[in-house]
């Protein structure tokens, strides 16, 4: 194959002209493309419709979150960290705060109710995130109805986040030592409404999609990953469980009281896109199962925040009455708390896989380093392998089934 690269400028834009004498064409999919699920550029070499080489290029959403976190207080860093995996923000915040609480040595003292609400928000985030996956995955295949059904369910969940934390996305509801505030009045009734709505809605969605011959045609035997490959490529989450390895961080390294709830870890063995689809649907059902158990426990009130005012601000009512409370509040707002030196790796089971934070503290009131273990980055990398020899249309299905979020991939 003879190639010559002649850089030209056309109207101020740099253009690479590659001449070759075979049928290969270099096609740049993205970074603006309707089916790349975000800002992903895949430089594909194709022969006809068949992909002969796929190299994803990332970095189009690089935000410098980790560097920003190094310049913010421990309690402020979660505002930027929440914006990594923007489909399940509270999961990021939870993982980060679990790491900080481990460094502070207070992880065993988090109140029961705070743990329950943390589990509740994690599972609601998982369902909301899978709703987006299912909706956008459906759009990729042309199934627009799924989008409307799923986003309506997601709206009800975002309403819950808004009433509890104040914002639909990025509520910053989880804080060191517990929560920002208790669940508001009427929340549990609202939650009951969502629980009641979930089952018929998912029944409809499954009826639309699960046995749909078009969906099955497009997803079965597409993007097959073998279990050894999955481990070699560091895949986690539904992608790994669809290959047959039942690794779930909630069961392997339980946190926030997950070992007290009864839930299964759905797995499949085929390892193709349809298996990943089924695993995620089953995961949503398991999440709802956990939510029902948490709902029963939440009926009893209790403390939702550690009372140690070294980390947690004192109740607002006491600030006008107690000098100590005022001073603690002032100190926390103006210079935050100090975390003893050390490093820790904390992982949670996010909707995409094992989300981990390697947090290093040098004793200061700001993090020294917050290194993210982004599940989407590792999940997306396997595209280089599974797209080879497949059609472009199949590559679109594969990206959807890997479910990357670019806030996390690029950070």
């Amino acid at each position: 194959m003879s190639t010559s690269v002649v850089p030209e400028t056309a109207g101020g834009y740099h253009v690479d002209v590659v001449e070759s004498d075979n049928n290969r064409m270099v096609l740049s999919m993205g970074p603006q493309h309707p089916s790349t699920h975000g800002v992903l550029q895949i430089v594909t070499e194709i022969e006809g419709e068949v992909v002969t080489k796929a190299s994803p290029e990332i970095g189009y959403l690089h935000t410098g979150i980790e560097k920003s976190a190094e310049n913010l207080f421990w309690s402020q860093a979660s505002t930027v960290i929440e914006r990594m995996d923007y489909l399940s923000p509270l999961t990021n915040a939870l993982c980060y705060y679990l790491a900080v609480e481990k460094l502070l040595g207070i992880d065993a003292q988090i109140p029961e109710r705070a743990n329950q609400v943390r589990v509740l928000t994690s599972e609601l985030s998982r369902i909301a995130s899978h709703c987006v996956w299912l909706g956008t995955g459906g759009i990729d295949l042309g199934a627009l109805t799924a989008f409307f059904y799923c986003f309506d369910l997601r709206e009800r969940i975002l309403d819950l986040f808004e009433s509890a934390g104040g914002a639909r996305m990025h509520p910053n509801y989880i804080r060191v030592g517990g929560l920002a505030q208790d669940l508001p009045a009427g929340f549990l009734e609202q939650l009951d409404g969502v629980i009641a709505m979930y089952e018929p809605r998912m029944r409809d969605v499954r009826r639309l999609l699960q046995k749909n011959p078009i969906l099955q045609d497009r997803m079965i035997d597409v993007g097959i990953i073998a279990p050894e490959e999955a481990v070699a490529w560091s895949l986690t989450g539904p992608v790994l469980r669809a290959t047959g390895i039942a690794y779930d961080v909630r069961k392997a390294f339980p946190y926030s009281g997950y070992d007290r709830y009864e839930f299964d870890t759905p797995t499949r063995t085929e390892g193709d896109a349809y298996a990943r689809f089924l695993v995620r649907l089953d995961e949503m059902d398991e999440s709802m199962r956990i939510i029902r158990q948490v709902r029963k426990a939440l009926a009893e009130p209790g403390p939702w925040q550690l009372t140690d005012t070294k980390f947690a601000p004192p109740p607002k009512e006491t600030i006008a009455l107690s000098m100590e409370a005022l001073i603690h509040h002032f100190k926390l707002v103006s210079e935050s708390f100090r975390v003893p030196p050390g490093d820790v790796y904390q992982a949670v089971e996010g909707p995409r896989g094992e989300l981990g934070y390697y947090v290093v503290s040098n004793g200061d009131n700001r993090p020294w380093r917050v290194r993210t273990r982004p599940p989407s980055l590792y999940n997306l990398q396997v595209l280089k392998k599974i797209a080879l020899g497949e059609l472009i249309a199949d590559m679109v299905v594969m990206i959807g089934s890997l479910d990357p979020v670019f806030g996390e991939v690029d950070r």
């Binding site: 050894e228 047959g244 069961k251 100090r338 050390g342 981990g356 390697y358 290093v360 200061d364 380093r369």
Partner: protein, 246 residues
């Protein structure tokens, strides 16, 4: 915004990884780059089949300056149920990389997923991985200069750090900040008095509201002329009021 208060010296650790808090998150090993390949290979054959993550950390005061941190997970490779997966173990391998020779052998041969993680460390820290098939930047544009996550790289970037803040950020309706004291207050008071004197001279010359400004200027001149420097130092400045009353 973070406060400008710096913590007292001596309270911070130069090498936080030397401090081992009582957290059971992973078994920790510290090695040098020369033994990296052997260690990773041995761990992989030991059953630590999944590379969780490769990250970089910068400790500027310490020798070696950088740490490349590998997290590995012991996970069965074939299909495995929850019972067979059991309680996996984690290991953390800390590889110290000196600043003058920031190169480390690549782990791509052992785990193909190390590809992008190592590119990211190269991009953001400047540590290159020998033997990597595609050692180029991944997050920043190809022509970027500098390695952003190093501690000596400014947060806002080299170009923007040199440009001043927009002027509207300095103007405010509220006299912000701690009132000046000491020599600064004296100098400030002198400037205010001089400025007012100039204004009052013009006003007197124009003959506009002579009585009003005359009274004021008399007051201001008296104040500026008669007050002791020390008294001025104690008195806070209110730039908005005409005769500097609070």
């Amino acid at each position: 915004m973070p406060s400008s208060q710096t913590p007292p010296a001596g309270a911070t650790a130069l090498d936080p990884t030397a401090v081992r808090p009582d957290i059971a998150d992973a078994r920790v090993m510290r090695i040098v780059p020369a033994e990296l390949q052997a260690t990773l290979r041995r761990l992989q054959s030991d059953g630590f089949s999944m590379l969780l993550d490769i990250g970089g950390v910068d400790y500027p005061g310490r020798e070696p300056r950088f740490d490349v941190v590998y997290h590995l997970l012991k996970l069965p490779q074939a299909e495995a149920t929850i019972g067979e997966v059991g309680q996996p173990q984690r290991v953390r391998v800390l590889c110290g990389v000196p600043e003058d020779a920031p190169a480390v052998p690549t782990a791509v041969g052992l785990w193909p997923s190390a590809d992008w993680a190592e590119r990211e460390i190269f991009d953001l820290f400047g540590i290159s991985f020998t033997g990597h098939p595609d050692m180029r930047r991944i997050q920043m544009p190809d022509d970027w200069e500098g390695h952003p996550l190093r501690k000596d790289y400014p947060l806002r970037g080299t170009a923007r750090e040199r440009t001043p803040r927009p002027s509207f950020a300095l103007k405010s309706n509220v006299a912000a900040g701690t009132p000046a004291s000491g020599r600064t207050a004296m100098a400030l008071q002198k400037q205010i008095a001089q400025a007012r004197a100039r204004f009052d001279t013009h006003a007197a010359a124009d003959g506009v509201a002579a009585a009003q400004s005359g009274a004021n200027s008399a007051g201001a001149a008296t104040t500026a002329g008669e007050a002791e420097p020390n008294e001025l130092a104690e008195r806070p400045v209110n730039l908005k009021s005409k005769d500097n009353t609070l």
